[in-house]
Each structure stands twice: as C-alpha cells, then as structure tokens.
Amino acid sequence: MKQLLTLAVVLAAGMGLSVEAGLLGPLGEMVGHMSATFCIFLVGSLLLSLALIFAPRRSLPQLFSQPRWMLNGGVLGPVYVVVITTATPLLGVGTTMVAILFGQVATGLLLDHFGAFGAARQKVDGYRLGALALIAGALALIH
C-alpha cells in the first residue's frame, strides 16, 4: 500500500514535468524563450535555496571540495530547458517529450556502455536496445 502510494507520487511528479513543458512553451512565445528559461532556473534556485536552509543535513561546504568536472553537470540544464521552450509550441508537448526520451535513453546506453564519468561499465543489453527501437517507432508514429 505504501509502495503503491509512493509510485503514485512519482507518477504525479512525471506528469508535473509535462505540465512544466506545457507552461514553458506558451510563456516562451510571449516573453522570449531565454526569459522563460531564466524564469525556471530563478524560481527553482530560490525554492531549492529555501529547502537547503531548512534541510537536516548540511553538505554545501563539501560541494566545493569535489573535483571540478563533477560541478559542471549543471551547465547542461539550460540546454534542455531552451530546447523544450523552443520546440514545444511547434511540435506539441507529446512529440517533444518522446524525442527527448529517445535522446535520453540512447545517450544513457552509450554512457553506460563506455563507463563514462567514472560509472561502472555496463554493456549494451537487448532490453534497452529493444526499448530504444520501440521509442523510435513511437516517435515516427506520434509525429
């Protein structure tokens, strides 16, 4: 029962990601795609800063003693948000999400296969390759 409830929360969180994309597209058309992107990161930073202040465990000091490359993941965030706000009004939310999913699964497969960024190497397996083929089919159909 508790597991089912947790699953429902995660399902709702996933729905939220599409609502976010659905809000971003029209907003970007109105005020500019870069401004819409900035709005996401500004409000997100403020919310998470509040969360950090009240978080039980403080790990901010440790952050800056990590290797530099580990701190650079965040520079890719704006790439994703700019793409969503630009593509959604022209492709629709569904097509955009499926295309993103394809890029995500394909890249994840490659990163795991070569053990990039210090992760354990996991060879490409039939499951994910099959999933990738099905997502490609869905992308062709949905568009």
Binding site: G16, S18, E20, G22, T37, Q62, G77, P78, V93
Partner: protein, 152 residues
Amino acid sequence: MSFLLIFLALMGGAALSVQSSVNGRLGGAVGLLTTAWLTFVLGALISVLLMLFAQPPQAMTLLDAPRWQLTGAFFGVFYIVAMVFSVPRIGIAAATVAVITGQLTMSLLIDNFGWLENARIPLDPHRWAAIALLFAAMALIYTGNRKREAAG
C-alpha cells in the same frame, strides 16, 4: 523545420542524460538536494546571460505575464524532491518507469485538450499506436533495470 526541431529535442535529451550521469556522481558525494541546488543556480547564471545578451527585445516581459504561467519551476522542484524521497523506497527501475509514464500520459493529454494555452493535437489512431509501442518500451526498460538491480 520540424525535422530540425526533433533533432534539437534529441540533443536536449542527450544533454539531460549526460547531466544526470555527472550529477549522479556529485549526488553520491554531497546529496541530491545540494546537487539540484547547484544545477539550478548554474542554470540561472547562464540563462540570465542568455536572456540579456542573446535574445531580441520582447514586447512583453516576465513581469507582464500572468503569474500562473511562471509556476513551471514548482513542478520541476517537486519532481526532484519526489525522486529523493521515492527512489530509496521503490527502487530506480520502478521510479524511472513511473516518471516516464506520467510524463507521456500528461503530455498527450495536454496536446489532446490544448491545456495551458497549447495548440490542440488530438489523439488519433497513430498516437494510440505510439502509446502501445511506448508501453512495450517501458516494460523492456523495467525488466532490464530490475535485472541490473538484482545483479547489483
């Protein structure tokens, strides 16, 4: 034009995947909340530069837009918090599939009804067939992830 946009969206997904791989390592060291904080602060710094210097002046600014249209980040942050809470409880395999299922369902609903001032793209037979393929893909991802979780 739309081919180019789909390619762009694929690149966006690739960026997301690289980001979560790097962030996964950082999250292991300092925790997910701090990692998410850094990601958003970096994103804000980069996007304010883009907004000021890489965007033609607009007729409307963020402050003129209806406030409900500015709430996107709440959903993004809710997603992060939900994952921090849920992954240890239900495992990454189930969480991944649940997120993607929620994401795809809601995106098709928004398209179908034109919610949030988006253009209407009705669910036609092609889209239903795509949903069937996506379900099969989710089943494969779930099984593969479970196998890997079991292996360790």
